[in-house]
Symmetry: C2
Subunit: 268 residues, 2 copies
């Protein structure tokens, strides 16, 4: 019978919201941890976002939210403080209530990604990496790859201007990493990463030129469903090491739990 | 792992919120019914109520709320439609989302009370009843007692003006019931009801003159905790039939479940 008046309330904001599974994942963590906390999915139309956010802020017992598309940037700009990971991409994927009632932003998109690579014993430091996709998640990844010591990042996006802008920002923040915009061609790279939604649908083309993959490469996909994307299947056939998207989510949940100050017992 | 993006979200609004148990009761009903729905406690400061409510209204997947002190009247006035039970007391204790996104109000304070009396085989029709308390809950009760055919209601409140106003409104709506303001004296009555919070604390005085109770009377207390108030203990000693507050809450939950369109399996 969880959900007394003393419960800490959390939300997961997205629009549309139907596809999300995060509240259930967190409710299971709360239950396993013996916590009287609850997470609910929340949605609003983009036109109503300011009104929605003011109301959520007025709801004093809402302690934190996970933020998804299309509200990561809008929520970031509502926060009075932010971790550098969120500030550099101007994007919040998690916010928590501060003592004065205002919000503090963080962004674990890249954190979960890097943690998952490390857990899979995939090296980043000193590596040459092709990254396809310079959108929301891609921006977080590129910063985190550079931060983790990647030697070189080749950045590709269908929006070349977006890729160039991101490359220039990351290069400025991490001058130790060579970063340049190029073709979706993994030739000469140690690692090739898909950071786009291309591959979620069975009819999608491959996000990169898989014919240039070689068995010594590691291929990473951030897509969670399907678990085995066409890219990962092609890479596996060639003999590459592969890294699916799901562990990235699991590590994000762990990082968010710490951010929300949830004391976990037992669970990974 | 309840709480997918498709979950229906409900809230329980009060200020303060810490004492409430309703969200937990509903979460148990949802779970027993195999529903992917969640109810969370919500609170805001009175100064922030308008902002809060606008935000809740913008949150499209919030399907309904239970409303408690001090927001029953304020929420009623935010609704675009209402059951007569809510309209006559200008007070909402439950609201649900309508197809156009606006709110519909109802009030089950009196309904749960009457249902509990009926379940306890306590007659109302034709009876003379002392009711102490003409506040929020008291107003709902007085209307429902008159509606259920009470012959006479003697109404008492520390705020005599409030008692007189309620008596006049109920008399107008239900001219078949004699209703007048009087002393907290059960003499000559069939039933004596405490509809005040007096009795929640051990140091509280009795809400009525218990020395005038006689064994043929029924004594009712709306207080849930303690289950056996000093009034009910005194009444039991005299030999009266007694009716505690908890069943009133249980019947309210049932009425609210129907209002929220929750299909219950198994549970009472």
């Amino acid at each position: 019978m969880r959900g007394t008046g003393k419960a800490n309330v959390f939300g997961m904001l997205a629009h549309p919201i139907e596809h999300t599974k995060s509240p259930g994942i967190f409710n299971e963590i709360f239950e396993q941890s013996g916590l009287d906390s609850l997470m609910v999915p929340l949605t609003c139309r983009p036109d109503d976002f300011d009104t929605f956010w003011a109301g959520i802020t007025a709801a004093e017992n809402i302690r934190g939210l996970i933020i998804s598309v299309p509200y990561k940037t809008a929520v970031y700009h509502k926060c009075s403080g932010a971790h550098d990971r969120a500030a550099r991409v101007q994007s919040a994927n998690s916010v928590r209530r501060q003592a004065d009632g205002t919000w503090y932003a963080d962004n674990f998109d890249g954190v979960g990604f890097i943690d998952a690579l490390k857990a899979g014993a995939h090296q980043i430091a000193g590596q040459r990496i092709l990254q396809v996709g310079a959108g929301g998640a891609g921006a977080s990844l590129a910063y985190c790859l550079a931060e983790a010591g990647a030697a070189e990042i080749r950045l590709t996006d269908i929006d070349t201007g977006r890729a160039e802008q991101l490359a220039s920002l990351v290069a400025k923040a991490f001058p130790g990493t060579r970063i340049a915009v190029g073709a979706p061609d993994p030739s000469g790279m140690h690692m090739a990463i898909n950071a786009t939604p291309v591959g979620m649908r069975a009819s999608d083309p491959l996000p990169m030129d898989a014919s240039k993959l070689t068995p010594d490469m590691t291929v990473v996909d951030i897509i969670m469903e399907p678990a085995k994307t066409a890219l990962l299947r092609a890479a596996r056939e060639i003999g590459c090491r592969v890294q699916p998207g799901r562990p990235m989510m699991d590590f994000q949940v762990q990082a968010m739990s710490e951010f929300f100050n949830i004391e976990r017992r037992g669970a990974a």
